[in-house]
């Protein structure tokens, strides 16, 4: 099942509907230069994670969907991990959504998401490869560094090679 369809199904479940909460979250996700911060979302009452999951799949704009996907990493449930993993692996999903899913997995599960992130280092999307390298560098464990080093050995794109090298110098 595509992640978008899966989330659309969740979004229509009555128990998930919380219009006021969704309006607040969409507002927080709409900063021009200011991305939403974890503590802003965590301070909200209600099932913020469920709303973010719905917005990540069927939010009103590309930016909302991407930012909601990123924020799922701050609410690390198994359902969110599953959605993020499916999105990251879905080559038909928008590149920006996949990139934000990668960051969410890194932020939410750290090295525990390495099995999901490492394959994306070989994805055909060079922008995704670069963001996965940055995200793994942020996790910064020896295993994540090893994954970056391994990719550096075969990476042919100059920009991604540069990002991999920078990533190895981050931590």
């Amino acid at each position: 099942m595509s992640p978008l369809l899966f989330t659309a199904m969740l979004a229509v479940a009555p128990a998930q509907a919380d219009d006021a909460l969704r309006v607040t979250i969409v507002s927080l996700l709409s900063g021009v230069e200011d991305p939403v911060r974890a503590e802003e979302l965590r301070a909200l009452p209600g099932d913020v994670g469920a709303e973010l999951l719905a917005l990540a799949g069927s939010g009103p704009s590309t930016a909302t969907r991407e930012r909601a996907a990123y924020a799922l990493g701050w609410f690390p449930t198994e359902a969110h991990r599953s959605w993020l993993a499916t999105t990251l692996a879905d080559r038909t999903a928008p590149s920006g959504l996949r990139r934000n899913a990668a960051w969410a997995l890194a932020n939410g599960w750290g090295e525990g998401a390495l099995d999901l992130l490492a394959p994306a280092l070989a994805d055909e999307d060079v922008q995704l490869r670069a963001q996965v390298a940055r995200a793994l560098a942020r996790v910064g464990t020896p295993a994540c560094r090893a994954a970056i080093e391994a990719r550096l050995g075969v990476e042919s794109n100059a920009m991604v090679r540069s990002t991999l090298n920078t990533a190895l110098g981050v931590k």
């Binding site: 590309t62 991407e66 930012r67 963001q131």
Partner: protein, 366 residues
């Protein structure tokens, strides 16, 4: 037809009547080395006919930050002191690599002729030598003015259909530019000549602008020969150092207007809303960033830590839920309707008379 080949701007040569460059006067201020207090005093003689001055210093590298420490007016009064930065109606950012400093940024502190001293603080224990210059606008604003924009497409054709050839026929972009005119009409401003270019550099690197260094390096490629036009790079994504998405970003505020070839010489906007077919959102983001570049700040920062120097913009004080964020809902009727509000909500469309006063004195408006 709105668009002209960008080359035409470059080949225009000497200023002609009606040329925005005609009212700009540039002075090379020379080089200055910071003292033991990490600062350097930069004297600026403001001519009688100047209505705005943009002092700029740099480059000093991405690893070094600088800002204005103190600004002294011709009568000896201190019109800005970093130790109490909101005590006077002046604002300045803390910038890496290149520091633009605009006066005025509020009608409550107009530019006057005479000798100013700008003390520039450079955060480096070792002495740093900076090169500085100033650009004066020497003509009073007309009742209606235009701002020229140069759009540079950075590998966004596949997702948005935008490139230099097709841009003029793109319905979303065309509608967005018309919407910017509507949004700016309260300030007597409109978009003037729009020129287009396909980015000729490293598209893989700059299609997604990741972090301050890439942002500055991309702006540095906009060598527009000091023409009074705002370069705007349209990209797929902008991310901060944590990988989080940013919708648009202007150098500054204020930006280094009409001083091409430096890291603070333009703006970057993502094309996500074009992909969505949402010309209104794209227009609000574009209009917001262009006005940042011309010297406007957010009425209040998202976390309430800073306010603009403008007297007639609402100052929201309502953080009802106490979460440290001044949300659009909490500040409805108290700033959230302003085009310079921190969030790109559909109701953020207003400009005040004082904001109009500032941007109409920009060297970019003619």
């Amino acid at each position: 037809m709105r668009a002209l080949p960008f080359l035409a701007l470059l080949l225009a040569g000497c200023p002609t009547k009606g040329d925005p460059a005609e009212s700009l006067e540039r002075v090379d201020l020379g080089s200055f080395t910071t003292d033991t207090g990490f600062g350097a005093d930069v004297p600026v003689e403001v001519p009688e006919d100047a209505v705005s001055s943009l002092v700029y210093c740099g480059p000093y590298g991405y690893d070094t930050l600088a800002t204005a420490e103190k600004v002294t007016a011709p009568d000896g009064s201190v019109v800005f002191d970093l130790t109490d930065p909101e005590a006077t109606p002046f604002r300045i950012g803390v910038q890496d690599d290149f520091l633009p400093m605009l006066l005025p940024v509020s009608p409550d502190l107009p530019l006057v002729p005479g000798a100013y001293t700008w003390r520039v603080y450079v955060d480096s224990a070792a002495p740093v030598t900076i090169s500085c210059g100033v650009m004066f606008r020497t003509s009073e604003p007309a009742a209606a003015q235009k701002v020229d924009v140069h759009l540079i497409f950075v590998g966004v054709e596949a997702e948005s259909g935008l490139n230099a050839t097709a841009a003029d026929e793109n319905a979303v972009l065309t509608a967005a530019l018309e919407r910017v005119d509507q949004l700016w009409s309260a300030a007597g401003l409109s978009i003037g000549t729009v020129t287009y270019e396909d980015f000729g550099g490293d598209v893989d690197t700059y299609n997604s602008v990741d972090g301050d260094r890439e942002f500055g390096d991309l702006l540095r490629t906009a060598n527009n020969d000091d023409a009074p036009v705002i370069p705007v790079f349209l990209v797929s994504a902008i991310t901060d150092d944590d990988g989080a998405t940013i919708l648009g970003l202007a150098a500054g505020p204020p930006g280094a207007a009409a001083t091409g070839g430096n890291s603070k010489g333009g703006a970057v906007v993502t094309v996500g809303s074009v992909v969505d077919g949402d010309s209104d959102t794209f227009a609000r983001i574009l209009a917001h960033e262009l006005l940042h570049f011309m010297g406007l700040f957010h009425p209040i920062a998202k976390d309430g830590s800073e306010t603009d120097p403008i007297g007639d913009t609402p100052s929201c004080t309502n953080d009802a839920d106490g979460n440290g964020t001044y949300s659009s809902e909490e500040c409805a009727g108290a700033g959230a309707e302003n085009l310079m509000w921190w969030a790109a909500s559909s109701s953020a469309t207003d400009l005040t008379a004082d904001q109009a006063w500032v941007v109409n004195r920009s060297g970019l408006a003619y």
